[in-house]
Each structure stands twice: as structure tokens, then as C-alpha cells.
Amino acid sequence: MVQALGHTTIKMVREMGRLGWFMLYSLYMIVRRPGSLVHVLKQIRFIGTKSLFVIVLTAGFTGMVLGLQGYYTLTKFGSEGMLGAAVALSLIRELGPVLAALMVTGRAGSAITAEIGIMRITEQIDALETMALDPFKYLVTPKFIAAMISLPLLCAIFDVIGIYGGWLVGVKLLGVNPGAYFYEMEKAVVWRDVYSGIMKSFSFGVIIAWIGCYKGYYAGHGAEGVSKATTESVVLTSVIILVWDYFLTSVLL
């Protein structure tokens, strides 16, 4: 029992050390050898552009449900004019960065793990090493850079679409004054809110690339190893995003 606990603890500490090393080495490689622009652009297309549809869809419905819920809550206090401010602040400070990151985790984070994991089990990563090439330069750093660029942009798109989703329900369906919707929003949202949202989504981008690449890079054997790595990657990334969001919010508030 004690022995098993000891083994598990050592394994966990070792895994955390390896995770930390992976992050530090990736950041070092971004500075030293960021990889070719073509590789980075390809990854921006994959992580960013190809996530647009799901981001727009999620953002639209999130904004709409916020408009609906917000309206029924605010009418209780007779302040439905504040709907724009409520929708915008919820989206810009919290829901935009977090939901965009979770959607990208499901769509691109899992694919990053699967791609690198398959390259690991089919010895393609070993092949790069035998050519005296650093696999990080080709597989990891372009994904880090692409995620750091894409996530804030996706988050910004999420926020705008979400705000118009709220406007559609609040103003067009429930009759909130359109002037009040945008005026209250403009009055309530300050640069610090936007800044904190961007900071969050930037750091979520790092987390998605970090865990996605790490889990693929150290995937186990065979198809089962890759499938396990992919599942673990999505779960771990989502959990870390939510925990990190709490800490970041407490610091940035």
C-alpha cells in the first residue's frame, strides 16, 4: 500500500517535471528556432481558420442565451437597459476566452495530439532525430506560435458574434432599446476588461499547444496509446484552462 503510494507519487512528480521541461524547452525553441513561416501559417490555418465555424456557431448561441437569461433577470429589477453591458462583460471577461479555448481544445487540441502521437508510434519523430533535426522545430514550436496568435483572435471574434447574438434576442426579439443596449455596453466595458480577455486567451493558447503536443510526443504504444493520449489531452487541457482561468481572474480583477 505504502509502496504503491510511493510509486504513484514518484511517477506523478516525474510526469510533472517532464511537463515543465517540455514547456520550457518549447518556449526556448520559439526564441532560438521558431521554425519556418510556412509551417506557422499552416498551423494558423489549422488551429485558427478551421475553428472559425465552430467558434461563430458557439458564440452566436452563447450570446443569444445570455441575452435571454440576462433579460429575464434584469427585468426583475427594471434594468433591462443594462442588458448590453451584462452580455458584453460576461463575454469579454469570461465566456469568450474560456468557451473559445474549450472549443479549440476539442477541435484542434485533440488533432494536435493525434497527429504527433501517430508520428511518434510510426517512428517519424525518430526519423527526424536521425536526420539531426530537432522535432520541436517542425512539430511543436509552429503549433505554439499558431495557438498564441489564433486564440486571442478567435476570442475577439467570439466576443463580437456573442454581443450580436445578445442583441438579436434582447433588442430584436424582446424589445430592449437598441441605443441603451450599445450605450450601456460602451459605458461599462473598459480597456482592462478587453486586456484581461486577451491575456486569458493568449495563455489558453499556450496551454492548448503545450498539453496537445506533450501528450502526443509521449504517446504510448499503438492505436490504443494514441487514443488514450488524445482523450487525456482534451481532459487535461480543459481542466487546466478552467483552473488557470480562476487564478488569472483573481490576479487580473
Partner: protein
Amino acid sequence: MISLRKVHKSFGAQKVLDGLDLDIPAGKITAIIGPSGEGKSVLLKHLIGLLQPDSGAVEVDGESIIDVRRSELNRIREKFGMLFQNVALFDSMTVFENVAFPLQEKTSLSKEEIRGRVLSALEDVGLKNIETKFPDELSGGMKKRVGLARAVVLNPKIILFDEPTTGLDPIIKRAIHQLIKDTHAKFGFTAVIVSHEIPEIFDVAQNVAMLFRGKILQYGTPDEIINSTDPAIRQFISGSLDGPIQMV
């Protein structure tokens, strides 16, 4: 020359290499034979630093590759080419891109020069008009030949072959062996071939090492191995079920 001294390697409780000593001479074709699961691929991966031994020394041309900086290891690796057991072609790249990749990354050749080198390397392995195909559109034998073209395209001093003919039909098998002999005669590299192909490998290799129970049981010319009196080697060559080699 590549030399291994007292190399030990275990995976968990399983001891794979147990104080192995071996010298691989430069410019020759050396075959490593032995029963499945004895650690031949593990041994091969030690030669290029893909695996590090638990203890012992591995030197390439007198330079250690154990516990050296990555930049140092990469400098030594530039002497190597490797054909993997599963070929390990980059599956998102075409045949042309696969063979061109080391040239693009490691040389400053122009696009035209790279194209010329790639087509010539593919022609050397008997492949034409497949440059635009992806690896999953090729047969096993074609993949091996593309892998071989990629391994030789930078004219490395040392090429490692991990079971280059496993899973191929007898004709392709012979063609690959002939190809290794021909390219070796043309470029004069040091070749290390891990193989199960008995007796064909004796026609290809100039030296043969038999790996058994984590050590080199015998090292010598193909004739010396064929005429060995060691019971494990005799059993392995004859394919007999009775003897010191037990099926796992």
C-alpha cells in the same frame, strides 16, 4: 568505426542488453542477426543515440555519443542515414518531399539541384514517376525503396538498416538486398543491417554478429557464422525448434 563497450540496457525489469561489446568496422556491411525480441532494434537505436544505455560506452569514430549535448549528438548524427523497420516516411508529404526533406533542411542547394538529386536517388532505387504519390499509396517494397533513397540522399558515412526486407516477397527481398550491395559498392558507406533473413543475409554482409541473451554470441565472417559450432547459432540458422533458443 562504431564501438560499443559493456552496454547495458533494461526496460523495467526486462534486461535487453547485458554488457554487450561490439566493434563495427568502417566501410563494411555488418549484419546483426538473432532471434526476435532479443533487442536487435534496441542495439541499432543505441548506435545513433535514439536510445541511451543504462551504462557502458558507445563511440562513433572515437567520439562518445553518451550523455553529450544535443548539438554535439546532432553533429555526429549527420554522419548517419537510417532505414527504419516501418520505413517511417513522413505520411503528410509526397515521395518527392520525403526524399527532398533532408536536402532542404541540411544543405543550401538550389531547388533545381535538389530536384536533380532526388530524382537521381529515386532512380538509383529503381523508382520512376511516383514523386507525387503519398506513402500510403505505395506497396511495402516501394516504401522501403523510398526509405532507402531518403537514407542515402545526403551520402552519409554510415547507414543503419532495421529489418529492411521484413514482410516483403522473395523477389523484392532479393532486389532490396542487391540494392544495398550496389549502393554500398557505389558509395562505400558503413552499413549495419539488422536482419532475420537467413541465409540471404550471408550473401549481403561482410561481417555478421549474432545477438543472444543481451550479448554478442559470436562475431565473424558469414562463413565463420555458418560453420559455427555454437548450439544457439546452429539452431538459429537451421530454424530448429530444439535448442537453447526458446520461443517466447
